[in-house]
Amino acid sequence: MQDTFVDIHMQVMWNRLISVVEEQAQALIRTAFSTSVREAGDLSAGIFDVHGRMLAQAVTGTPGHVNAMAESVGHFITDIGPGNIHEGDVYITNDPWKGTGHLHDITVVTPSFLDGRLIGYFASTAHVVDVGGRGFGPDANEVYEEGLFIPIMKLFDAGRENDTLLHIVRNNVREDDKVVGDIFALAACNDAGHNRLVDMMREFDMADLEHLGAFILGHSGRATRERLAALPQGQWTNSLRLDGYDEPVELHATLTIKGDTVHVDFSGTSGPSRFGINVPLVYVMAYACYGIKCIVAPEIPNNFGSLEPFSVSAPDNCILNAQRPAPVSVRHVLGHFVPDLVLGALHKALPDRVPAEGAGALWNLHMSLRPQPGQTGRNAEILMFNSGGTGARPTLDGMNATAFPSGVHTMPVEATEHVGPVIIWRKELREGSGGAGQYRGGLGQTIEIEAATGYKLQFSAMFDRIDNPARGRAGGQAGAPGSVALDDGTRLRGKGKQDVPPGRKLVLNLPGGGGYGDPAQRPAEWQEYDTSNGYVPAGQAGTGA
């Protein structure tokens, strides 16, 4: 009976460890400067054992961060060198290949010591407002143009600040106070996690995390493998065509379920792009795992043990395996389609479990406002996160204007208009944009934006599904494709920096999600509900977008 009490005790300590990292994440949200972190939750935080294995993570907005960060602590240990790790150290990088896929994400790792002995690491990642270079957008041809690259190095060495690095950062980014403020917020949140961990270890009289770590990883690994072993065994494939930057991109996945492991290979996918939509493999891995976990093991916490049974591979000359110095700034666009790609293959193994395709990538809108010539006023950089519709589920409609797979929030219109001189005239559901089906796809949204009087507006587009709408499943129809235009009807490009002429409004129509099942099977009262609420314009019911 004593053993069962020990198990319950271990469970209690595991829950406590999760609350330690949740608190670490909260500290970051409260002290961060960039809107992407503080308003939208584009961050991650986690604790790792001395071997660099992730034990627990905060459930924050971005699976792409978390699962990628899970890999990164191992790189820190190798690059810093185990003999060079001291109490009071803090490490930093924004290496897209050793961090989370683009230069805008800064990862900070802090070794945690108890009574002079290394017990683990805290790591956190945040999307900062600027890293110099061309700014956030897909237009660069090499990573060198995309901004300052900080290889893994010490931010603090035994408590001493690396002011050389901070000096370089300050002189290479546009909003230096905010960027440096965010770097300190990352370091501070790791400290907050460390302090709470020490309290916990003293309370439970723990000398290290070995025993608890083994329990967590063992439990999670076993539970995940049990789930995977129960799946149908075999190999399935799927392809997805997307807009790309200047030419369409074909994504291809082969999913292999064998024993208690899952492997995804991306051979057959288009080669690298000349523009910044390439994706480092670590980010692809993150979203592939996330998508599959949602279907087969949603409630098992993310850690080294539950991620270990998953693996991915891709050839070197592949847009989903970007090789340095390929540009990767907006790697999230294709990265966000990896779940749709992989789930399409999984659907063939597990019919009736997988949703239809959705809008996929967030429609992130980066805007630069400048006073008109001869006018005075301040410059402003504004970032908005906006979502289209999700795919219909096997037993439920898709969600209107809701992010998937990303979990970030949008910002309130009133808050955005406080940040800079723009007027958002419309941010509203886009009627009729959900794919028809027995279950309807989620609606996209329509956004109309104009510069405030006296300002000019330039924006960086990083949008997809304009030429390639979200496909329905099981007889469901496609969602409406997206569009980018001016209010006079002039069509604009889906990717890259563009101007909005004075007096004109930018009109974004975000894509809808695909439908699920035969539209004719949709009950009449639901169709009536759709038309009376204007989700589907009268006359369009049952015919799809």
Binding site: M1, Q2, T4, F5, I8, H9, V12, R16, S19, E23, Q26, A27, I29, R30, F33, T35, R38, E39, G41, V59, P63, D177, G181, F184, A188, D191, H219, A223, R227, K293, C294, P298, E299, I300, P355, S387, L396, N400, A401, T402, A403, G407, V408, H409, T410, P412, V413, E414, A415, E417, H418, I423, W425, R426, K427, L429, Q445, E448, N533, Y535
Partner: protein, 693 residues
């Protein structure tokens, strides 16, 4: 208007299961619990009042004042039983309520259902008009469009209308204009406008709040009218006041106009109760722990002032998960509420771990041990198996609990699933729910930059005293207090509430460009508004004004409350404001940052009458060690084994008596468990003060 006896006061709290009534006269307290009447809540009130009056030997007409709190507004929102309501908003923003923050509140569950917008899309209408962020008119109201809209509203058969325009917190002129135009043609319709109900920036929260207000307004108004009529018919012509979510008292008229402010008024009463106990005992750092049948509520009370917040999420639909409910912007007593109560159901998850709640067996079918058809094991079942509850003397002997039924349920759903004995299963359930509650308390304290282990716990509600000792052990807290009347704590709290009103407004100011006249004008108008509420009730009492600025570094998104005297803000003493901000920031986050601009985002101002000073209690030393011949087996969570614990009746204890743990102290409405680490001493006010030795 006042009849009756000024010192005879009645507090009434309508909760989900029980309606609690507490009567106080000449320092004496009489209380009762009657079942809540869902059909006509006022009937239960009358029944309860009859009972306490009979017990106290008081005639109905002698009652001087009734103070009332109710979950009616909350339930109406949770159950979606409100008025037929239309929402009128700025063109281009018809779907703010429905689009929310555009995220999923649960990342890995692809089959979540988002909470439907309170007002369906077909009932949301737009008007062409627009203010900018500074409150300047960008587009005038389109009068022709408005006329057509009013015709549609008239044809729609709406009882209530909410109006919410973009940036109306900065300039409410268009909202007022549209309201007046509608009233001119539909004079009997109920209208709520966002610039009056919740003048705070962030459109989603403000629109939700004004819609919630409009939605419950006709229901609440009808109920309050019936209540007053019923009381008068029984000869009670005394004034009736309402408790609001911020823990103060407002008049019936204001409650009827802004009923959204009644949300969560019951738990707010509990916190006032804790505040009063804290004052009596001179505890400056208190965590109140209120555990009922379905949820546990935890709140920090420092220097006798509960922590307050500007918004609150009501009607969470998914495991109490943040984001699965509806955010309402009103000043509230800030507390964490988690799905952990006596009725919370325990189960085993796919990781073979024990989970507890948030689903509750409530009173029907109830825990397995109630023998009313409940099959799932609950926290109460676990407490029974562990010896914390007496099967033959539950609820003052009104109910017999079945140990075999509890054991069977625990064995079936927990033990057999993961190979545990019944005792180990019960221990697991208690340990998990206690850990859930202590985690919530710990995180709540940390969010306020506090170390909870230095706090004193004040516990009440049916389940609080049962779990307090274990929570204290987990949180490193050295003492807890179980006040007399703990079972009806909220209703007692109502009787102690100040006449107070808090108003919150957006008003952004950078410290380096502090426009004193503008700020002073804003603060003056806020003070005038709050004074209006208070003087409507107590026109002669002296009032105090508290002012808080919500501040941050420009560019951050999270603001922290900075409290200074009204005059300091009014005069624009920037140096003092900046210094206080730096001090608070350091307390929250370790160290202040040098460089970035500091700004004020919004303001809160509270006017209240002074609280009647609670008689302070001189600590009583233990003079008599009480031992009891009665004992039973009680599970000790620290040694993880059963120990023999004495059973003591609380009614037989007098000040100075002391009981050493392990012990079980019983009373009709609750049971206090003292683990081996605690000794309780009865204080002169009848409170049990348990301290760790």
């Amino acid at each position: 208007m006042a009849s009756g006896h000024k010192d005879c006061r009645v507090g009434v709290d309508i909760g989900g299961t029980f309606t609690d009534v507490a009567l106080k006269i000449d320092g004496r307290l009489v209380s009762t619990k009657v079942l809540t009447d869902y059909e006509a809540p006022e009937r239960a009130i009358l029944k309860g009042i009859d009972q306490v009056c009979a017990d106290a030997g008081v005639a109905l007409k002698d009652i001087g004042v009734v103070v009332h709190g109710t979950t009616l507004a909350t339930n109406s929102l949770i159950e979606r039983r409100g008025a037929r309501t239309a929402f009128v908003t700025t063109e281009g923003f018809r779907d703010v309520l429905e689009m929310r923050t555009e995220n999923r509140f649960e990342q890995y569950d692809l089959n979540i259902t988002l909470p439907p917008a309170l007002i369906a899309r077909a009932d949301r209408f737009v008007v062409r008009e627009r203010m900018d962020a500074a409150g300047n008119v960008l587009l005038d109201v389109d009068r022709a469009g408005l006329d057509a809209l009013i015709t549609r509203l008239a044809e729609g058969g709406y009882e209530s209308i909410a109006i919410g325009f973009i940036h109306a917190y900065a300039n409410g002129a268009h909202e007022r204009l549209v309201r007046d135009a509608i009233l001119a043609r539909l004079p009997d319709i109920s209208i709520s406008i966002s610039s009056e109900v919740a003048p705070q920036f962030r459109e989603l929260e403000r629109f939700n709040t004004v819609c919630a207000n409009a939605y419950v307004k006709p229901v609440i108004k009808a109920y309050l009218d019936r209540l007053v009529k019923a009381l008068v018919a029984r000869g009670m012509g005394c004034p009736v006041y309402m408790i609001h979510s911020g823990g103060g008292i407002i008049s019936l008229e204001h409650a009827a106009e802004f009923p959204v402010r009644l949300v969560e008024s019951g738990p707010a009463g509990g916190v006032i109760f804790a505040e009063d106990v804290a004052r009596r005992h001179g505890c400056e750092h208190v965590v109140s722990f209120d555990m009922g049948g379905t949820t546990a509520k935890i709140c920090l009370v420092e220097d006798y002032v509960p922590k307050t917040a500007k918004s609150f999420e009501v009607a969470r639909t998914y495991r109490f998960r943040k984001g699965s409910g509806m955010v309402i912007s009103i000043p509230v007593v800030e507390m964490v509420e988690i799905g952990a109560g006596g009725g919370s159901i325990a189960s085993v998850d796919s990781l073979r771990q024990i989970r507890v709640g948030p689903k509750s067996a409530a009173s029907e079918p109830g825990p397995a041990c109630y023998g009313r058809g409940g099959q799932n094991p609950t926290v109460t079942d676990a407490n029974l198996v562990l010896g914390k509850l007496d099967p033959d003397n539950f609820a003052g002997g009104k109910m017999v609990l079945s140990v075999p039924a509890a054991s069977h349920a625990l064995d079936q759903d927990i033990g057999a699933q993961i190979g545990l004995s019944v005792d180990a299963s019960a221990y697991g359930v208690c340990e998990v729910v206690d850990e859930n509650m202590s985690n919530a308390a710990r995180v709540h304290a940390i969010e306020s930059g506090k170390d909870i282990s230095t706090f004193t716990m004040i516990t009440f509600g049916g389940g609080g005293p049962l779990h307090a000792a274990r929570l204290c052990e987990k949180l490193g807290i050295d003492s807890f207090i179980v006040p007399p009347g703990a079972g009806v704590g909220s209703a007692i709290g109502f009787l102690l509430a100040p006449f107070g009103y808090e108003t919150v407004r957006s008003g952004r100011v950078e410290l380096s460009a502090f426009e004193q006249p503008k700020v002073a004008a804003l603060l003056d108008s806020m003070r005038e508004e709050a004074l209006g509420f208070v003087s409507a009730i107590e026109s002669t009492a002296p009032t105090s004004v508290e002012c808080t600025a919500f501040m941050r570094y420009a560019g951050q998104g999270w603001d922290i409350p900075v409290r200074l005297p009204f005059e300091v803000f009014h005069a624009g003493d920037v140096a003092a404001i900046r210094a206080e901000f730096m001090k608070e920031y350091t307390r929250f986050f370790g160290r202040a940052i040098v460089g970035p601009e500091v700004e004020i985002v919004s303001w809160s101002l509270r006017v209240s009458t002074p609280v009647a000073r609670a008689q302070s209690v001189t600590p009583v030393a233990a003079t008599r060690q009480v031992t009891s011949d009665v004992s039973r087996k009680l599970f000790d969570s620290v040694s993880r084994s059963f120990v023999s614990a004495q059973v003591v009746e609380r009614a037989g204890l007098v000040p100075g008596d002391c009981v050493a743990g392990p012990a079980i102290i019983t009373e009709a409405e609750t049971t206090t468990i003292l683990s081996a680490q605690f000794t309780a001493t009865v204080q002169s006010d009848g409170s049990l003060l348990a301290t760790r030795h």
